[in-house]
């Protein structure tokens, strides 16, 4: 309607204007196409196979091996009431210990947990351990001031970028036969302990991963408690403890519950930690699924993948519903922090010595594995050696099956390529998520689903569809490994871009965008000219996340990587299993140290430019 005044509109101007107008819709359509091709379609093929003629889902549901005692519900539902009554008549519950962990023993008759039951059981134990380890941290970070507090607080996002297979190497280097722990024990003249391949070490490794999550989420909630609300309660006659119970605790419980739920989801789907630290005797659904794929038993694998995805999607949905019901408003008036190194009176000293003990535990759990790994890469303190690093170089020269430099090269290439795909996807989705109108929640869920489906399931679906080939009309389309790996990495990484960019975008005054649009900018142009320059720290942090996720991705990569195409985490696993270099974690530790250096660099970028990731 201003055409009459636009006299000098050249063809070029028209063209660039059209590009302006369609850039955002095109990017959105591209994002949906990528998601459909490398996420929804592959996962769909898995579901179809699972519900196909062989009906593996039903076979699993009625199998005592998979479902434990619960299989009766599906196998012979009419007998269930009688069975339960008979069982209840004889039930005795005895509390006891499984190794170091509390357990409940149903004395007679025994109840089989089955694979799913065991997976849920270990996830529950891992969640308990993560809460136990993480909750005191939230208290310390939220209520005390000390040098390095901010650094510690930002370190709580580190687990998100640490490759889990690398953490496995750290745990092996710490708790293995010749690890740091046994080194210390034998120096003290004590007997060596076998800690690997136990439930305890799996739970501990899960706590390493998820306790910081609990700490972070609860500490944030604690910092959002309005000090004047507590002061009001106190002035109305509440004791400090009562004020905590009535005012502070109700604000912490939702965050605690949300973090516990999220930890449960993560540990339910956990793969490399259980695979490498537990082995098949402690197999969870995810590990068993992987083993089925290795055995080419695709029908059972599809059944397992479907059931696991149903569980994880349901839990994630519960989490998102719960998260959505929480108000995330900060307070301008947080509770004042106590000075940690300034105590008077026996009570304060007691609290601080408790924090001291906690600090030692934290150092043992978090620092020891990483330090042990770096140490193991140079042969430990007693006999320092560079032979493991030299081994990496020699291995490269000798042209073995798994070459270190090739793994590094592929990792970096995949990382950059995945970043190039994930960044525009994340920004487009972030813009939509921050400003979308009606139907936003549904679209949000569709776009964020990849975060709730395990990498093994996605990898399996990709293997069975795009890698093996898909019939499109008369043609058979099949994508080669590297392309699929990059796409899988991009889909795994882009939700982190969204999570970093969307909160910052929604903090940008919408009037800025509206001003730009009234002045003639298309929606895409306004995003480019006005919003992105204002949220670049979020974009950069999201990019670092996406890169780090790609570098560390193991689950789908290990399925999709062929003999010739492998990344650092895959090479790491091969070195861990491959004992041709002697009974030592040395080569894996050296490789892990390289991986640590790369991911630590990503973390520094995230931290310096203000990563906003809130799970």
């Amino acid at each position: 309607m201003r055409g009459s005044r636009r006299t000098a509109a050249s063809a070029w101007a028209t063209l660039s204007r059209a590009a302006d107008r369609f850039a955002l819709p095109l990017a959105g359509a591209g994002t949906l196409a990528v998601l459909a091709a490398v996420f929804y379609y592959p996962v769909w093929t898995v579901f179809v196979e699972a519900l196909g003629p062989e009906n593996p889902v039903w076979a699993i549901l009625t199998s005592e091996f998979y479902m434990g005692a619960a299989h009766g519900v599906f196998a012979h539902p009419l007998r269930v009431p009688g069975d339960v009554a008979a069982w209840l008549a004889e039930v005795h519950i005895v509390a006891g210990w499984t190794g170091l962990l509390p357990d409940l023993f149903v004395v007679h008759p025994g109840v089989r947990k089955g694979l799913f039951g065991f997976t849920a059981y270990q996830a529950a134990l891992s969640t308990l351990a993560s809460v136990a380890l993480g909750l005191p941290g939230a208290y310390v970070l939220a209520r005390f001031e000390f040098p390095g507090r901010r650094t510690l607080q930002s370190l709580t996002i580190l687990p998100f970028v640490l490759p889990s297979i690398m953490v496995v190497v750290g745990f092996v280097a710490t708790f293995g036969q010749f690890g740091t722990l046994n080194g210390v024990l034998s120096t003290l003249g004590l007997e060596r302990v076998q800690f690997l391949y136990t439930l305890e070490v799996v739970v501990l490794a899960h706590a390493f991963y998820n306790a910081p999550l609990v700490t972070r989420m609860v500490a944030t909630a604690w910092e959002n408690v309005d000090a004047s609300a507590v002061e009001t309660a106190r002035s109305l006659g509440a004791s400090p403890l009562r004020a905590f119970r009535d005012v502070v605790a109700p604000q912490l419980v939702p965050a605690l519950a949300a973090s516990a739920l999220l930890t449960f989801v993560f540990t339910f789907m956990s793969f490399p930690i259980v695979l490498a630290l537990g082995g098949l005797q402690l197999a969870t659904v995810e590990v068993w699924l992987y083993a089925r794929i290795q055995q080419l038993d695709y029908a059972t694998a599809a059944g397992l993948a479907t059931l696991e995805t149903v569980v994880s999607l349901a839990l994630t949905y519960a989490y998102l519903r719960y998260e959505g019901s929480q108000s995330a408003d900060g307070t301008a008036n947080p509770l004042a922090r106590h000075r940690l190194f300034d105590a008077s009176g026996p009570r304060e000293w007691l609290v601080r010595s408790g924090i001291g003990v906690y600090g030692v535990v934290v150092a043992a759990v978090f620092v020891a594995p990483l330090a042990s790994m770096v140490l193991a890469s140079v042969g430990g303190l007693e006999e320092p050696t560079l032979r493991w690093w030299r081994f990496l170089v020699d291995r490269q020269a000798s042209g073995g099956r798994t070459q270190p430099a090739t793994a590094v090269r592929y990792s970096l290439q995949f990382g950059v390529a995945a970043l190039a795909v994930a960044l525009p996807m994340g920004v487009v989705v972030g813009a939509f998520s921050a400003r979308g109108g009606r139907g936003r929640k549904v679209v949000d869920a569709v776009l964020m689903a990849p975060i709730a489906v395990s990498g093994i399931v996605v990898g399996f679906g990709l293997l069975r569809s795009l890698v093996f080939g898909v019939e499109v009309g008369d043609y058979r389309v099949s994508l080669v490994g590297p392309v699929v790996v990059v796409m899988a990495h991009a889909v795994a990484g882009y939700p982190f871009v969204v999570r970093n960019v969307a909160p910052m975008l929604s903090a940008v005054d919408s009037r800025l965008v509206e001003s730009a649009r009234a002045l003639g900018a298309s929606r895409g142009r306004a995003l480019w000219d006005v919003e992105l320059p204002l949220v670049w720290p979020g974009v950069l942090a999201g990019a670092a996340f996406a890169f780090a996720i790609s570098i560390g991705e193991f689950d789908s990569t290990v399925i999709l990587a062929g003999d010739g195409v492998y990344t650092m985490p895959v090479a790491l696993k091969r070195f861990l299993v491959d004992r041709t270099a002697g009974p030592s974690t040395g080569p894996a530790a050296a490789m892990g140290t390289v991986l640590l250096a790369v991911t630590a660099a990503s973390f520094v970028v995230i931290d310096r430019v203000g990563g906003r990731y809130r799970p």
Binding site: M1, R2, R5, R6, T7, A8, R17, D509, R511, L512, E514, S515, A516, R517, A518, L519, G520, A521, S522, R523, R525, D529, V530, P533, L534
Partner: protein, 342 residues
Amino acid sequence: MTSVELDGLVREFGPTRAVDDVSVTVADGEFFTLVGPSGCGKTTTLRLIAGFENPDGGDVRFGGESTTGVPPEDRDVGIVFQSYALFPHMTVGENVAYGLRFRDPPDGVSTAERVAELLELVDLPGMEDREPSALSGGQQQRVALARALAPGPSVLLLDEPMSALDARLRERLRGKVKEIQRELDITTVYVTHDQEEALSVSDRVAVMHDGRVEQVGTPEAVYREPASRFVAEFVGDNNVVDGSASPLETRGSSVAVGSASFDVAESASGNVAVSLRPEALSFGSGGNELDVVVERAEFLGDAYKVYCDWHGTQLLVKTTDAPEPGPATVTFPPEAADVLPE
């Protein structure tokens, strides 16, 4: 330049109708104001004109042409927000020039010349290289105005542009806005909750309430002949007295309020609401005489606001000299009382 027609405009947010059947025509070159309390739908109406919202019913027409499906960037409007909304990562000059990336400057001048011209117009010459954050609120608001006007839009939309400024600055700036509007002869839709501001700058005013337009008219008409109780109470300080009217033999009617009564010039009967402007009331005798009790007086500088109690009804009187608290007589001619419709 162009006229803006709102035809049966409806906008719903869930179960609430933010804009409920609004039909108004803003003439070419007119300074038109939407005024009402917060939540009355005036800003939503403006956003419908700008294209940031899509109507659930009705249409917005520019110069007779429907805007259905026309995105904001193609509507050729300039908009100024209360929050200024200057792009913080651009200089003043870049802000003003932003719209010229998409539209050629009018009169064939260069972008730089156009920017200088606009900054001159808003009394900020030579400020091109300043950062927006280095300017005062009033200066930022003038930059926002220059930015909106730079591409030569056919409609100017102002969304509470003065509300973030202090009273004195607000008065100066609204004079400036009015002057520029006259000079450019640009169709302007102004949104404000401040009825005084609305009366002082507008050619015509629409008073909005609960998503509906209560009255459209010149500031004088809206002030002197309010079309509803809401308008009477919202526009200016006012006394609205409920009573029961009965026609008098000669002309006019008598309005009984409790045991007391007064005469009005209009003929009416039954239950009525009567608007008595405070400045039409005075202390003394003659005409209608109401025996009141003076409760307190507020000094305004040029006048006093005197709060009186008239048999349980509060009456506000605006006079140049304040009586002592206690019994007094308020007087007004029957012509000063306005019986509200319905």
